[in-house]
Amino acid sequence: MSNGMINGNGKRSYKLMIVDDSNLMRRRIERSQQFEELELVGTAADGVQALELFKRTDPDVVTMDITMPHMDGIECIARLVELKPAIRILVVSALADKATAVEAMERGANGFLNKPFTDRQLNEAIAELIR
């Protein structure tokens, strides 16, 4: 895990990027995550936008959808991990087959959460990611 940074209160904080082609889902994740140490640095609607945002904001933690236009989550995961091996990526996807989860992990994702999810499930998955 990337070290994040120490904020003004002396606590470690991590930069969060949310990637999903649904604005509703991006808002949901932003609203539902309960970690003070996560600072949202931006959201992206596809893999291409995510890579551009990554270059500007250098996130430590990413939530990543899979089915997106222009560049899907699997390819985006691979590119992000190549750029920043310590990045932590939680896949948040409706694709419920094991093969997709395995592929995402093999490409460098650190966790997988299926949609639909409860707030509790989301936060448990994020907790695993940043522990």
Partner: protein
């Protein structure tokens, strides 16, 4: 052609969506078969299916239902764009979840969304559809599955 066990996958996916995302179960009516496309509501989220199976899966719902669904999801944006987003996300979620049983070769598209009167569903002429009626908090919607 959709087999009974496969139909069950979509029924369970729909049930699960409402239980988890809407935090209130929906009542699913008896699925039925029809030639061509059924009538749709004000908003329709369409997923094209390719790979081992081909066809479409779509979720069609009235604005009133989507508004309440958004409220249950703690949303306060009830714009046209958000309605389109939601109906696409519902279709995407149910279709993506179906891969648990159909497997990875059940390839789903990004959602396309149709709204307004008499939208044209991208469906092959003569293709039969399974209609899954959905009743939620006095509102009615449909999940339509049309696959070869």
């Amino acid at each position: 052609m959709l087999y009974e066990q496969e139909l069950k996958t979509f029924v369970e996916g729909t049930t699960n969506f409402f239980e988890v995302a809407a935090q209130q179960p929906a009542s699913i009516g008896s699925p039925y078969l029809m030639e061509g496309s059924p009538s749709v509501h004000e908003y329709t989220g369409v997923i094209k299916i390719s790979g081992k199976r081909e066809g479409v899966v779509y979720f069609t719902a009235p604005k009133a239902m989507l508004t309440v669904l958004l409220m249950k999801m703690q949303e306060n944006d009830f714009s046209h764009e958000t309605m389109r987003d939601l109906v696409g996300e519902v279709a995407n979620t149910i279709s993506g979840n179906a891969r648990r049983d159909f497997g990875r070769d059940f390839v789903i598209s990004v959602p396309s969304v149709l709204s307004g009167e008499k939208p044209e569903i991208p469906q092959k002429p003569g293709q039969r559809s399974f209609i899954i009626p959905i009743n939620w908090r006095s509102h009615s919607a449909k999940l339509v599955v049309s696959l070869t």
